[in-house]
């Protein structure tokens, strides 16, 4: 088994035991990335030089006994909407094409303090607006399981990078499903924690009341380990929550006896692909056989989540994105007459179509005369949706369903009809409105070989229950991270990037 086939925790253990050096791990991931990138395009910025110097520094700290955590030395990727001091942070937009932050996001600082090596910044839908990673100014990311298909979005680059073994785990952000849906499409584990669990300091804001950073990993144990590192109370984010118990790895027990799981009938009906439905129901059966009590129920209000979400998220986006005006950072138009003309031209040239669409809608629903009818109405519906979840969690420990209605669509098939694309968010979006934790776990593939994800939704602060159920499922099915059958940039023989370099070196020596 090559280095790249290890999970983050397995790698961390071998690094502590000195079986693998941090540099070897970073080099293996970088070489895989360099080979895969021309086709997959997971990264906006890959930083080999920086990664190797971090690797040497972390190795020194490990050798000195200063870094003993399970993720010390593990190479990871970061979605390009999280600031890292001195490193390009583009949000996959033209308007931030040359922006180098002067500070680092708290979530990234937490990963660095745990000894993670940051390999680079991953591709995304522009400003996290999209479900396919096709709205990126830097070209679409391809699904490593089938490069004719999208990886999902908006954290498509992070999910594809984990799936293609271009890193050992990644950070994503989730405003309406942007971690869970691409995790489902790419066959990896992704979690959106309870709102306020991970600091948003240094995360470029899209919909501030909905945005949450979370882990994207090869398996459930890695997910728990990453979350344990990411979660922290941060005075720099006024919505950050001080949680009593962040020992998420303790939740990794193979036991769901007596756990009550509800499957919303409204998630399993019209619009759901047959193969996705079967895979998710089979997974529910696995948990039932392990002792969980599984039953169907009516959640209600499901169809109202999308219109409420797009009203609220667009409103917040129109306000958050006002800061991009060509003055303090980013792109500025070449020719202009006066200040206002400069603002308008800069923004019109700097933003892509989907971002402009949402800014326009958001500006409209917040404008006087429409604010009550649209924005406040959506906030009232949000309260009703939260109530529906509250009553579900009086009966159930968690809710189980699909992460998305279908597997990954083909490239180029989604953007022409935005409303249809938005409907793909139907199972993930209400979780953000209610601030709940949700995770996607791979449960199989469809007949085209595209991964299917099961979504587990918990009440606020119940990440541990989700992790326990997901871990139990993994144990019962002996499921392990499945690398794509045919990975571009290699021969598909299971050799990893490091192996190729060995061969090249040997050839040179010969």
């Amino acid at each position: 088994m090559g280095i790249l086939d290890l999970t983050a925790l397995e790698l961390g253990q071998k690094i502590q035991k000195k079986e693998i050096s941090v540099r070897e791990a970073a080099e293996a991931a970088l070489e895989r990335a360099q080979a895969a990138e021309p086709v997959i395009n997971s990264y906006v910025t890959l930083d080999p030089e920086g990664a190797l110097s971090q690797a040497d520094e972390i190795q020194r700290k490990i050798d000195a006994g200063e870094l003993t955590g399970p993720l010390a030395g593990v190479p990871v990727a970061v979605k390009d909407n999280m600031c890292i001091r001195g490193q390009l942070t583009t949000c996959s937009s033209k308007i931030l094409s040359n922006f180098k932050p002067v500070y680092t996001a708290q979530a990234v600082i937490n990963m660095k303090n745990a000894g993670a090596v940051i390999l680079g910044k991953t591709n995304m839908d522009e400003f996290a607006m999209g479900s396919t990673t096709e709205t990126s100014y830097y070209g679409p990311t391809k699904n490593p399981h089938n490069t004719a298909h999208v990886p999902g979005g908006s954290s498509g680059g992070s999910c594809a990078a984990v799936a293609a073994q271009e890193c050992f785990g990644a950070l994503g952000s989730d405003t309406g499903g942007s971690i869970r849906q691409p995790s489902s499409f790419c066959g990896v584990v992704g979690m959106k924690p309870t709102y306020g669990t991970v600091s948003r300091y240094g995360l470029v804001a899209y919909g501030s009341s909905l945005d949450q950073i979370g882990p994207i990993t090869k398996d459930v144990s890695d997910c728990a380990a990453f979350l344990e590192v990411l979660a922290s109370h941060d005075p720099k984010d006024s919505t950050s929550i001080r949680r009593e118990d962040c020992r998420f790895m303790e939740a990794l027990a193979d036991d769901v006896k007596g756990m009550k799981i509800g499957i919303p009938r409204d998630y399993m009906g019209e619009g759901l692909d047959g193969e996705v439905k079967k895979a998710v129901m089979d997974a529910a059966k696995v948990l039932e056989e392990k002792g969980a009590v599984v039953e169907e129920f009516d959640l209600g209000l499901v169809k109202y989540a999308i219109p409420a979400y797009y009203t609220i998220a667009s409103a917040e986006a129109s306000s958050n994105l006002e800061r991009f005006d060509g003055v303090k950072y980013g792109y500025r138009t070449a020719e202009y007459e006066d200040l206002h003309n400069m603002y308008k031209k800069t923004r019109s040239e700097g933003f892509g179509a989907e971002v402009k669409r949402r800014i326009m809608l958001g500006s409209f629903v917040l404008s006087s005369g429409y604010y009550d009818a649209y924005y406040l109405k959506a906030l009232r519906v949000k309260a009703l949706i939260k109530k529906a979840f509250d009553s579900a969690f009086e009966k159930y420990d968690m809710i189980l369903g699909p992460a998305a209605p279908t597997t990954a669509p083909e490239l180029g098939s989604s953007l022409s009809d935005p409303l249809k694309m938005y409907l793909g968010d139907i199972y993930t979006i209400s979780v953000n409105l209610a601030g709940l934790p949700g995770m996607s776990v791979p449960v199989g593939k469809d007949s085209k070989g595209l991964p299917i994800g099961m979504q587990l939704i918990g009440n606020v602060f119940q990440e541990k229950k989700l992790l326990r159920a997901a871990y139990t499922y993994e144990c019962a099915t002996e499921k392990q991270f499945e690398r794509p059958a045919h990975l571009s940039g290699e021969d598909g023989q299971g050799t990893d990037g490091a192996g190729q370099s060995e061969t090249a070196k040997e050839a040179h020596q010969a």
Partner: protein
């Protein structure tokens, strides 16, 4: 109920959004917005009388902290990000005649 967005409205929203749209972009934006608003209008099927708008899912009030400077002097790096700057300030087109 089909929403109709007038030329004046799209012009006004463009000003609020600080976006300059070409004529064809305006037409597309009108069609997009009409379609989205029709969809958002489905929310009116729900009776929300007496329901308080929920902006935050947790019952939290404003969070205060002391305003203590913790960062160093990043002026040069910050100015380096600006499209145009002088030695110590951001440069914008003349705003007062």
């Amino acid at each position: 109920m089909a929403n109709r967005i007038s030329d004046e409205t799209i012009e006004y929203v463009g000003i609020l959004a600080k976006l300059e749209l070409s004529d064809s972009e305006k037409e597309a934006a009108k069609a997009d917005m009409e379609k989205m608003l029709d969809y958002i209008d489905t929310l009116n099927e729900l009776d929300t009388t007496g329901i308080e708008p929920m902006s935050h899912v947790f019952d939290v009030s404003n969070v205060f902290r002391e305003d203590i400077v913790t960062n160093g002097d990043d002026r040069e790096e910050m100015l380096a990000n600006a499209p145009q700057h002088t030695e110590d300030s951001f440069k914008v087109p003349r705003t007062i005649g």
